[in-house]
Amino acid sequence: MFKKLDVRTKIIIVLCISTPAVLIQDPYILTAVFAVSILLSLFTGSNLKMVFKKLSNVWYIFLVLVLLQSIFSGSGQKLLSIGGLTILTAGGIIKGVEFVLRLMIIIISATIMTTSNHREIIQGLNQFKVPYEISFMVSVAIRFLPMLSSEIKNTLIAVQLRGIEIEKLKFFKRISLYRYIFYPVLINTVKKAQGISIAMEARAFRAYPYRTSYLILKFRAIDYFIIPVSFLLAISLILYYYFFD
């Protein structure tokens, strides 16, 4: 049932989850929103397992974020200090955890969009009255992100296949090798983008200020139910936090 949600409903759900996440600064409410975002993401059929696997590769970034937040916005009980410099405080850690939760909520709710293909996303934006040139630009950008990451991975292998044993290089030499990965990735991406834009124009893209669409999105009963409920929940959560809590 959730898997066939209209892409416009999904856009609204993402907005209704990420807006409170940005506005609210309460670890308990954020945890609840986090749980909801995971549930919704699972219901819509996104590949959460893979997202978590990728995130777990960069867990140390999250640790650094918590630490930085803790150092710069410390408050409350001191937990750890080195030579007079307070590193960890109870309040700081809570702030740090909040920050990471917020980031996770945004990342996970965004995975809901990956369950629609980019043609649907373009059409969803168009039917939200976004000009078609802008929605196409957005969709090309979405399509290029995964392409870019696989391009980087492949180039890294290709450069090693020249017979360069990365493992044996000293730290600074290894860093300077990454410079060589930069050119082909950049140039191939620009070339591909240019190729696609030429192919699009050569098929009459932007010949007229309007275009028709073969794909038409239609809301179903479930969409009419979920959209108002999402708005209602998001607004009441924000109101509750600002006026009653």
């Binding site: 492949n154 180039t155 292998i157 290709a158 450069v159 090693q160 296949l161 020249r162 017979g163 360069i164 044993e165 990365i166 493992e167 044996k168 290089l169 030499k173 090798l177 060589y180 990965i181 050119y183 082909p184 140039i187 191939n188 070339k191």
Partner: protein, 228 residues
């Protein structure tokens, strides 16, 4: 035939390999192949038959789902791409993926420099490659701005300068006109004569015949024909 049917230790060996791309249909199911370290083997077949995929498996750009790929008896999984690259030169279908610098000369020399070779010994080899591949007048140009055929030649020169014992070339004739093709043919023949093993992935039957390769024909992920 004997070198194909297993038993003998080959240079590159695929053992009961299964492969499919993420979320896609299986490309290979339980294929086994042995490539000897000398002479010429051609992998041919229609578009979409899995030729390029097979080449990528042989060099370890992609890993088999099941089964193993061995290089000189060692599982590719346990060898770094750097080590593989010292033994095998791999020409990508799209040469843009293996040009990394902003100058033709640098392109030929940078890998050697990274591996700690002295400038003097590299420069004379670079000059030789520029001569063999008729790239001398282009030596200060930016590789990405060269024509398709010129980039193809440069990519190939960058492999040969490493003097690997084995070459895997994916569609090497793409973008070459008949003069370029003839030059490539002569070069590969002399490489084979000097004991370099060669595996050509190509749908260009005339080219394969001219090289006199042993042919492995694949279709829809199955080996349909193996000729000596």
């Amino acid at each position: 035939m004997s070198s194909l049917s297993g038993g003998l230790l080959g240079f590159i060996e695929l053992k009961n390999v299964d492969f499919s791309y993420e979320g896609g249909m299986p490309v290979f199911e339980n294929i086994s192949l042995v490539f000897s370290g000398t002479g010429c083997t051609a992998i041919t077949g229609p578009n979409g038959s899995g030729k390029t995929t097979l080449g990528k498996l042989m060099i370890g750009i992609i890993e088999p789902l099941n089964g193993s790929v061995l290089l000189e008896g060692k599982n590719l999984k346990n060898i770094t791409p750097g080590q593989t690259g010292q033994k095998i030169g791999y020409l990508f279908q799209n040469p843009d993926l293996q040009l990394f610098t902003l100058n033709v000369r640098d392109e030929l020399s940078f890998a050697g420099r990274f591996m700690g070779r002295s400038d003097g010994s590299i420069e004379s080899e670079v000059d030789e490659m520029l001569r063999i591949f008729q790239l001398s007048r282009l030596q200060d140009r930016i590789p990405f701005n060269l024509s398709r055929g010129e980039r193809q030649r440069l990519a190939l020169a960058c492999l040969i300068i490493n003097s690997p014992g084995y070459l895997i070339l994916d569609e090497p004739t793409t973008g070459l006109d008949s003069t370029g093709e003839k030059m490539l043919l002569d070069l590969l023949r002399s490489q084979i004569k000097n004991g370099t093993g060669l595996c050509v992935i190509s749908h260009d039957n005339d080219f394969i015949k001219a090289l006199g390769c042993r042919i492995i024909r694949i279709d829809k992920g199955k080996i349909v024909d193996k000729n000596v």
